[in-house]
Symmetry: C2
Subunit: 338 residues, 2 copies
């Protein structure tokens, strides 16, 4: 990539996304000169393992960003709201995984395979879309390039890993409770998630939509640069540890055959088609765990119209979070923006 090396800070280094981020920075040989794992007071004093060494976790505070090239925020929105501007002010490039900055006009919201050009106008903070949005737009963009998009209808089936460790813990705790004949007491989610599905991701707004659903709409529009794209959605939580799925019906501008859609999806970087019904081949969350690709299958024409059905699966912690964040940093370097 480059013989230069960079000072990289990771805020939220001890969380679910932070852990995957550190693993991937090592796996992808990201040119790190110095790594600074940062976290809230609670985690200070612990160490994280990186490239064979134990690195002490430091407090996430403004001075920790001095001299940093890249600061990945894999933490809560409030931490990002307070600290991202401090990091940017100190000359670092912030790549933020929280929802805080996503719809800010001065902040590029980037999936590098789709809209890396938006990075050119950055003002220090770059935002990484929601984990559900990333897999979704990765499946839409090849179709759009082939035939345009008129309307998209989607029901998502989202893994508990999308809620981070609390979600993963809640699923396991409830499974154990049910096994021993105890009730599954909801704490993180509004209803039992083990042995169940919950038609609510995040929380409800006054209009009856969930915050997750509205994010999916607005982030998709911003990334695709289609400010009035008609996206219609219901987001559902399912008892799956990792891997978000989406059942998507797409109305294109011009008719597109299933074969042509399959070809467009196969040719797109970061997308892999798994679609051979005759041999029971289709992607599931279990297939995508620890993979960077967005998997697409069940590509077929609607029975009564020219629309296309597809089924999309992605690892919400990888392409849905850590992979996409690192790809943004890599794109910044290769474009000479750092």
């Amino acid at each position: 990539m480059s013989e230069r090396s960079f000072v990289v800070a990771v805020v939220g280094a001890t969380g679910a996304v932070g852990e995957v981020l550190l693993t991937l920075l090592a796996e992808r040989d990201f040119p790190i000169g110095e790594l600074r794992p940062l976290a809230s007071e609670r985690s200070v004093g612990s160490t994280i393992r990186f490239a064979g060494k134990d690195v002490p976790v430091q407090l996430a505070e403004p001075s920790a960003f001095d001299g940093a090239d890249f600061v990945f925020f894999a933490a809560t929105g409030s931490l990002s709201k307070d600290l991202a501007p401090e990091a940017a002010k100190r000359g670092a490039i912030v790549i933020d995984k929280s929802s805080t900055w996503r719809l800010n006009d001065d902040v590029p919201l980037v999936v590098p395979e789709i809209n890396a050009d938006a990075l050119e106008k950055h003002q220090g903070i770059i935002s990484c879309p929601n984990c559900t949005t990333i897999g979704f737009v990765m499946a839409l963009e090849p179709i759009r390039r082939a035939a345009g998009l008129r309307q998209v209808i989607v029901t998502t089936l989202q893994a508990v890993g999308g809620t981070g460790k609390p979600g993963l813990d809640e699923l396991e705790e409830q499974k154990a409770a049910l096994r021993s004949g105890q009730p599954a007491v909801p704490k993180v989610y509004a209803a039992q998630i083990a042995d169940n599905v919950v038609p609510l991701c995040e929380s409800f707004r006054d209009d009856g939509y969930s915050t997750e659903e509205v994010k999916l709409l607005h982030e998709t529009r911003k990334i695709l640069g289609m400010s009035s794209l008609d996206v219609s959605m219901t987001c559902v939580r399912v008892p799956v540890p990792v891997g978000h799925s989406a059942s998507i019906l797409i109305e294109t501008e011009t008719p597109l055959s299933a074969a042509a859609a399959r070809e467009a999806l196969s040719a797109f970087p970061g997308v892999e088609v798994m679609d051979d019904p005759a041999n029971n081949i289709f992607p599931t969350p279990a297939d995508v765990v620890d993979r960077d690709e967005v998997l697409v299958g069940r590509i077929r024409k609607d029975i009564g119209s020219d629309r296309l059905w597809i089924w999309q699966v992605s690892d919400n912690l990888r392409k849905g979070a850590a992979t996409n964040a690192i790809q943004i940093a890599e794109a910044m370097i290769s474009r000479g923006l750092r």
Copy 2:
């Protein structure tokens, strides 16, 4: 209901649906003079418990139908294909849960709350719709009566109980395997179902649709008497023991507000609205287990159109199977058709 009593045979008395059917026949005080639990050779010799007595299971063969008033088929399609005409020939009313007769023009396909009138033209065999279809049409019919139906788009999230005991066993076996670090080996389904979702219910046809998806289309059209209704669907299996869910987008003939839809659904017999986002109230499969009602929530207008989103849940073994079958028999009696 009536002071008369009836000879009732249940084919498949030892299966998942058969068991629930027997429980419900007792619970609902169905006027049974004589009960004949029938099954294949394998189960003959065992007994089933009914109304406080052990009743021996007999072989499902033509002579077992002599003198029967009602024969419930809760067995495989092939058994129903061979034996249902034999039962009808002997003057019994057959209520069949298999898919064998559903689309036969001479066989009424009935959800009593919706199209009990179709029973009047029966010729001995009456068919009970697929468990997914029943919950789906129960949620559509009140909307249709209020504003007509132009188009329906649905993604189902179906419980493993829809595959009967083999599905329930597969989920539990795979959960146990994963807990002990073993791989989850698929036998009943084409892919791992524990900790996963599988975008295939039943098996694939040559056109890339699953048999379940096509059933949902054709059965819905027949029950609603709308032979060209545009139903667009993807059916997904989820790791839930009992309770099918459906995420449904409905385009009505005339605009219908969410409030009016809520009212229409609430007023419909057999439907219960659970819809109060401000208090995190919505239905999930865990809420519907052992209930006869179809639960509906998340009733809201689409953001970009006049369409309505709803979320529907029903117990696939109760209203999706046994309850509906018994309601058919009850309707036959109250209409004087037996």
